[in-house]
């Protein structure tokens, strides 16, 4: 073994508004009160995690024409929570999903630059786009572009924010009280960006922030998305948390970097991962099974089935067999505000697979949904989970993981107390922060003053909000 041990990167994902989050557990606290966010952030910082991640939602989800009420509903504003968390943490990176469809570059750029200033260089942005007029009903602009045009807008949105971040080099403010010169350069902040989607110009009003721009996350899985990430992103938030799929994704994306003049350590691959811990592996497996049943109630199982079938299936018994009728192959209209429905690209084929599995394994609807959705990534005693995480990273299935606890806000406590020390003992996870910025935690080189726009002209792409 000549290969040196890789250092693992870990992040905490605040539990989301989906059925992964178990709200019925007596330990489940508020997902809105600031104390819950502070608890998770401080746990993550105590464990020397790289960053905390907040997702975003811009319209309450609906199914069968009604607000979906079985999962956690509602969340606070991403930027506002991240700025407040900067007050109760010192080193932890602060990452947020911010939509490019229902915002304008000037405002988002100044929010991220402000967050980076107010956190001393800890801001990160996961760029997403929304397609639907459903979400657009909450905004001035509504849902006014066809789907492919929204991708184009997202690309140039990101490009224009980078031009805004670069409009200050970082050395303009001299504030010389004696001579009265505040700025060394009166043209600081000047920008002009014109393309098919934006015609904006003027002066950006936030001086260059500690990191130059926020760390950029990319979450797309398409060829286009991988290519953009390889050219320009700092980290990929991937879905591939199994060993085989992770290795294939990792090899593909890292293999693209050289073509963009980048080294393999300039782009981190960080899959989202769930976990269940127990004193023994057997106990963890049992707990994991219980958690899955909490996550998939009979009602939830029917709702999941409806999302694939695109039909009202409320008359079916979740403890009975799958419906005999086929999915409605038309446009999915049963569930709105939910990106996952688009994952079922071929509903008829998926339904056939599910039916075959249910029949051969004699599974009810609920048992099937437990099996085919959202299984935990890591289940075991702390030593097992530590070993698995480390082996995945050393085997190049990822550079680390974004951990999604299923309990708010204490769901990371046990991991911090039991798994992290084992990773530290192995010498694969930091015992103290070495730097103060998120870029430093992630081991990515600082930007040159005045340069955050990549030289490669690759078109960025972004995935849909989830």
């Amino acid at each position: 073994m000549s290969k040196p041990l890789k250092q693992i990167h870990l992040a905490a994902h605040f539990p989301g508004v989906n059925n992964t989050t178990v709200w019925s557990d007596p330990r489940s606290g508020s997902h809105i009160e600031f104390s819950a966010f502070a608890h998770l952030a401080q746990t993550a910082e105590r464990a020397k995690f790289d960053f905390l991640f907040l997702a975003e939602g811009l319209r309450l989800r609906e199914q069968n024409g009604q607000i979906y009420d079985l999962d956690v509903v509602g969340r606070p504003d991403t930027f506002t929570v991240l700025a407040a968390l900067a007050a109760v943490t010192d080193r932890l990176g602060l990452a947020g999903t911010i939509n490019s469809t229902f915002n304008e570059p000037y405002e988002v750029a100044r929010q991220f630059a402000s967050l980076d200033h107010l956190s001393g260089g800890r801001a990160a942005w996961n760029v997403v786009t929304s397609w639907d007029a459903f979400t657009g009903e909450n905004f001035r602009r509504g849902g006014f572009l066809p789907q492919d045009a929204r991708y184009g807008r997202a690309r140039t949105f990101l490009q224009s924010t980078w031009e805004l971040f670069d409009s200050w080099r970082g050395d303009e403010i001299i504030a010389d009280k004696r001579t009265g010169e505040f700025l060394a350069d009166g043209s600081a902040g000047r920008f002009a960006h014109r393309d098919a989607h934006f015609d904006i110009s003027g002066s950006f009003n936030v001086p260059r922030s500690p990191q130059g721009r926020p760390v950029i996350f990319q979450a797309g899985d398409s060829d286009e998305g991988r290519e953009f990430a390889a050219s320009s992103a700092d980290a990929i938030f991937s879905r591939h948390s199994t060993l085989d799929a992770g290795q294939a994704f990792y090899a593909d994306v890292k293999g693209r970097l050289a073509r963009h003049g980048r080294t393999r350590d300039q782009l981190l691959i960080l899959p989202a991962a769930t976990f269940v811990l127990g004193d023994t592996d057997d106990e963890a497996r049992e707990l994991g099974r219980e958690v899955r049943l909490q996550q998939v109630s009979g009602q939830t199982a029917i709702k999941f089935l409806e999302q694939l079938w695109n039909r009202d299936l409320s008359g079916y018994d979740p403890d009975g067999p799958l419906p005999g009728i086929d999915p409605d192959p038309g446009e999915n209209t049963i569930a709105r505000g939910r990106a996952s429905v688009r994952m079922y690209r071929d509903p008829l084929a998926t339904a056939a697979l599910w039916r075959a599995k249910a029949e051969s394994e004699k599974l009810s609807i609920r048992e099937l949904i437990v099996e085919v959705t959202g299984r935990q990534s890591f289940v075991g005693a702390p030593a097992t989970v530590a070993e698995t995480i480390n082996s995945y990273v050393q085997a190049d299935a990822s550079d680390g993981f974004i951990l999604v606890p299923h309990i708010t806000p204490g769901g990371l406590d046990e991991f911090a107390d039991t798994v992290v020390p084992l990773l530290q003992e192995r010498g694969v996870f930091r015992t103290e922060y070495e730097g103060s910025t998120l870029r430093e935690h992630l081991g990515i080189a600082p930007l040159q003053p005045g340069v955050s726009v990549p030289r490669a002209a690759a078109a960025p792409t972004v995935r849909a909000a989830s």
Binding site: S24, I67, D69, D71, P76, E104, E137, F139, G186, N205
Partner: protein
């Protein structure tokens, strides 16, 4: 809790202070304007002075805030951080003081701002407000590229076309406030039920579509953020003439006005009360605060000299939309009480130079008013509504369905 103070005091924070040369004062910290520590220090000092709230200035363009494109002077503070995020960053470090960031409504989304201020209310446990501001500045519109405004200067404001534009911008602001407020109410307080027996996290009957449709935008709702701790955070606006007085009277909880003297203050208060009445809000409390730029020293001559020295550094005599006061804390206390008798219930003081005048307010003016029995000696409430003597309102939708 004792009765709310009958006099309310806020301080308006902007960079190093309102005088363009304030950053050159010996104690000024111009190199720290973009750090959290600077803002935490200022707002903590305001809290030590038991002030009701601070406002934080903001704009979607670079200073100076002229109506034409900035020519690029290099001798003034340029650049700002987002005011909502400054307020959020300081909220966990403070306990009682209200946090009222400026929000430009002309180019932003009411849905985003509603949840941002609701969230500020959560992170401050009930101390959030916002100050709504419109902008007709051509160069700020160009930063967004979605609407264009004619180029005009302050002298053109009497031009009918400009008057029409300003009137429309304030109508839009009123719609904006309406949407923000409806979204705050769109979750009834007890909408989150976590009913394990039925598997329901929320009672969807207590989540409401707001279905606002106006001339400028439409918003469906409900908010994604549950009803904030105060129910309705505080809405404030600065007003200099009849069109914005209408916004204050019909939409705001606090209006900032700029009287020249006590008689002018009385006339402004009467006009706003008329709008309040016409808008069907006669029973509501709408505070009217006088805005004053202040230069304070224990010796009145020293205050005037200091302002003159700053004017010299800036190369011009500083004037403002608000009256500029130079004098002692005791003289300012006299003026405050005199104007209070004309119907103002508070003051928003703009420190000429923050490094000097903020302390002069908290450690000079406040004790002076306390000795006169005119200002609180301890915080009597832990929410901003409480400090302002405003009850927590029920959601309009809860009332409609009960």
């Amino acid at each position: 809790m004792s009765r709310p103070s009958s006099l309310h005091l806020a301080v308006a924070l902007d960079g190093s202070g309102w005088h363009p040369a304030a950053w050159r004062e010996p104690q000024a910290r111009p190199r720290e304007l973009f750090t959290a520590r600077y803002w935490a220090d200022l707002i903590s000092e305001a809290e030590r002075g038991l002030l009701d709230f601070v406002t934080i200035e903001d704009a979607l363009g670079l200073q100076p805030a002229g109506y034409s494109e900035p020519a690029g002077p290099t001798n003034q503070v340029r650049g700002r951080l987002d005011a909502v995020l400054i307020a959020a960053r300081v909220a966990p470090l403070t306990r009682n003081i209200g946090l009222v960031p400026t929000v430009v409504v002309t180019h932003t989304e009411p849905f985003h701002i509603s949840k941002a201020i609701a969230t500020l209310d959560y992170v401050s446990t009930g101390r959030a407000g916002l100050r709504v501001q419109v902008t007709a500045r051509q160069h700020e519109a160009a930063h967004f590229g979605r609407r264009t405004f004619p180029r005009f200067s302050v002298e053109d404001q009497a031009n009918p076309a400009i008057q029409q534009l300003i009137s429309e911008l304030f109508d839009e602001a009123a719609d904006y406030v309406e949407v923000v407020r409806r979204l705050w109410d769109s979750w009834e307080d007890d909408a989150e039920i976590r009913d394990v027996a039925t598997g329901r996290f929320v009672d969807r009957e207590k989540l409401h579509y707001i279905d606002f449709a106006g001339d400028y935008f439409s918003v469906r709702g409900p908010s994604i953020t549950p009803r904030p701790p105060q129910g309705q955070p505080i809405v404030t606006a600065l007003a200099h003439q009849s069109v914005p007085y209408r916004l204050v009277g019909r939409s705001a909880d606090v209006g900032y006005v700029t009287p020249r003297d006590a008689g002018h203050a009385r006339a402004i208060v009467a006009e706003i009360r008329g709008e309040q009445q016409a808008g069907g809000r006669a029973a509501d409390t709408v505070h009217i605060f006088g805005d004053l730029v202040v230069f304070l020293d224990e010796d009145a001559g020293a205050a005037a000299d200091r302002k003159a020295r700053l004017d010299g550094l800036a190369g011009s005599v500083y004037t403002s939309d608000a009256s500029v006061f130079t004098g002692t804390p005791s003289q300012l206390a006299d003026l405050v009480q005199d104007w209070q008798a004309s119907g103002l219930s508070g003051f928003r003081l703009r420190p000429g130079a923050i490094s000097h005048d903020l302390l002069a307010i908290t450690r000079g003016l406040v004790p002076q008013l306390q000795r006169r029995g005119a200002f609180r000696t301890a915080y009597e409430a832990d929410t901003l509504r409480g400090l302002l003597g405003l009850a927590r309102p029920a959601s309009r939708y809860a009332i409609a369905t009960s």
